[in-house]
């Protein structure tokens, strides 16, 4: 039993719901009609294209194309993360990309090999879908963690310099900020975990249930994905900070100012 398909005509019906925000927009002069229209259209075009593309990937199910798509997803995630905390992407793109990719890929690989135990570990249905979920869900934590690290050191400049003057190595001087950033990065995921199932029925579970599996299977998948998200978030924030530290600080241990926009 799969999900009931929605015919193109029926899908159009869902757009009727938009009359509610449009009405409120008109009634309260919110001036959001233009951005609402833009976002909805952009989402539709993106999803239609991705739909075709995923169909192609699923049909070919070729390890190279699947990995290539994962690389593209990571690139977009890194780029959007960097632009969100006003850092100059060109300065840290490579180390940030490497960290995000390593964190996502290693966790997905672990799940595919040891948990789901699929024969073909590069299977598009698992590699891309799980990779996408990890990236999407850890993005917020990543943005919070990495931006906290660099922005706090920037704001705390005098204290940071004072610690260097006490004889601290760069690793020692940045350690308190690394600690804070890792625990902050994890907060959104931990908060989501606490309300899971009661307040929110998460996307993965919804998908698995609509796909025809029983709620028991869906729950197992959800537990798996949440643990994978916590791990990949921690890992990617940690690796990104450790790997960008080299290019964001001078050899004198001073935070470079040109990494910020």
């Amino acid at each position: 039993m799969g999900a009931v398909d929605i015919s193109p005509g029926s899908l159009l019906v869902v757009f009727l719901l938009l009359t509610v925000p449009l009405f409120l927009n008109y009634a309260y002069s919110l001036k959001i009609a233009r951005s609402l229209f833009y976002s909805v259209s952009r989402m539709c075009v993106q999803l239609v294209l991705i739909g075709f593309f995923l169909k192609f990937l699923f049909l070919r199910n070729n390890a190279f194309f699947n990995l290539l798509w994962l690389v593209i997803m990571v690139l977009v995630a890194v780029y959007s993360a960097l632009s969100n905390f006003s850092m100059r992407a060109s300065k840290v793109l490579l180390p940030a990309f490497t960290s995000f990719f390593l964190a996502t890929f290693s966790v997905v690989l672990f799940v595919n090999v040891f948990v789901i135990k699929i024969a073909y570990v590069f299977d598009a249905r698992y590699l891309i879908i799980l990779g996408g979920m990890l990236l999407g869900n850890s993005l917020r934590g990543n943005i919070i963690g990495i931006s906290h690290f660099y922005q706090t050191i920037r704001k705390d400049r005098k204290r940071f310099l004072y610690v260097l003057s006490l004889g601290a190595s760069l690793k020692e001087a940045t350690l308190p900020y690394l600690r804070q950033s890792l625990s902050l990065a994890l907060k959104p995921t931990l908060a989501a975990m606490a309300t899971m199932g009661i307040v929110a029925l998460p996307g993965m579970m919804t998908g698995v249930i609509l796909g025809g599996a029983s709620p028991q299977v869906a729950i197992k998948y959800q537990i798996m994905i949440m643990i994978a998200i916590v791990t990949s978030t921690m890992l990617s924030v940690f690796l990104t900070i450790v790997m960008t530290r080299r290019s964001c600080f001078t050899k004198y241990g001073i935070l470079k100012s040109d990494i910020f926009i």
């Binding site: 005098k158 204290r159 310099l161 004072y162 610690v163 260097l164 003057s165 006490l166 004889g167 601290a168 190595s169 020692e172 308190p176 001078t250 050899k251 004198y252 241990g253 001073i254």
Partner: protein
């Protein structure tokens, strides 16, 4: 401009605010790099390798009294937790002795840094610097929050010992007691 300070000398850097007294210290600590010219320490030019050693030979007190959150006791423990300072003994007796000298009771150890006054913070920062047992002191406005009696005490502590001391301060007590005064505006020694 050339400014040379020999080992064991006590020098006061004078000049109005914003002239660059703090920047001079920043140059020596490698926090800023000179646009031109060279900074030497012990006859060796500073570079990105040497600077990490230099910082371990200098005790610095900044004018904003940068300390970390937490209890005063933790401030001192933090110093010793750094690898560069791991050879130092914690010596709580010596800490108590210094607290007494600077007119701070030992009960301040369990106070939070946010609870204490500016003058107390300043003396804690000075004790931090002394505990590192280094021979070169860079003191940036180290007595700005203290009363006259304490200013004297602090100046005596540093000037009567065989340390190399460079002080940037508006307080007359330093200028009166130090042998040398460098006027940053005139770019020359005036005393």
């Amino acid at each position: 401009m050339t400014l040379e300070i020999q080992e064991g000398e006590k020098a006061v850097i004078s000049g109005y605010s914003g002239l660059g007294k703090s920047s001079l210290f920043y140059l020596l600590l490698g926090f800023v790099r000179p646009a031109e010219g060279t900074v030497y320490f012990s006859g060796r030019p500073l570079n990105s390798h040497f600077i990490w050693n230099v910082r371990r030979k200098i005790s610095y007190v900044d004018q904003d009294i940068s300390l970390f959150g937490g209890k005063i006791r933790q401030q001192f423990e933090f110093l010793f937790s750094l690898r560069a300072n791991s050879h130092l003994s914690k010596g709580w007796d010596y800490i108590i002795e210094l607290l007494n000298y600077f007119s701070l009771g030992r009960d301040i150890l369990d106070k939070d840094i946010e609870e204490v006054s500016g003058g107390q913070r300043q003396r804690i920062a000075l004790i931090n610097a002394i505990l590192l047992r280094r021979n070169v002191f860079l003191l940036d406005e180290p007595t700005s929050f203290l009363d006259e009696k304490l200013k004297e005490k602090v100046a005596d502590f540093f000037l009567q010992r065989p340390y190399t001391v460079i002080v940037a301060s508006h307080d007359q007590v330093w200028q009166k007691k130090a042998v040398k005064v460098f006027d940053l505006e005139k770019k020359q020694w005036v005393q």
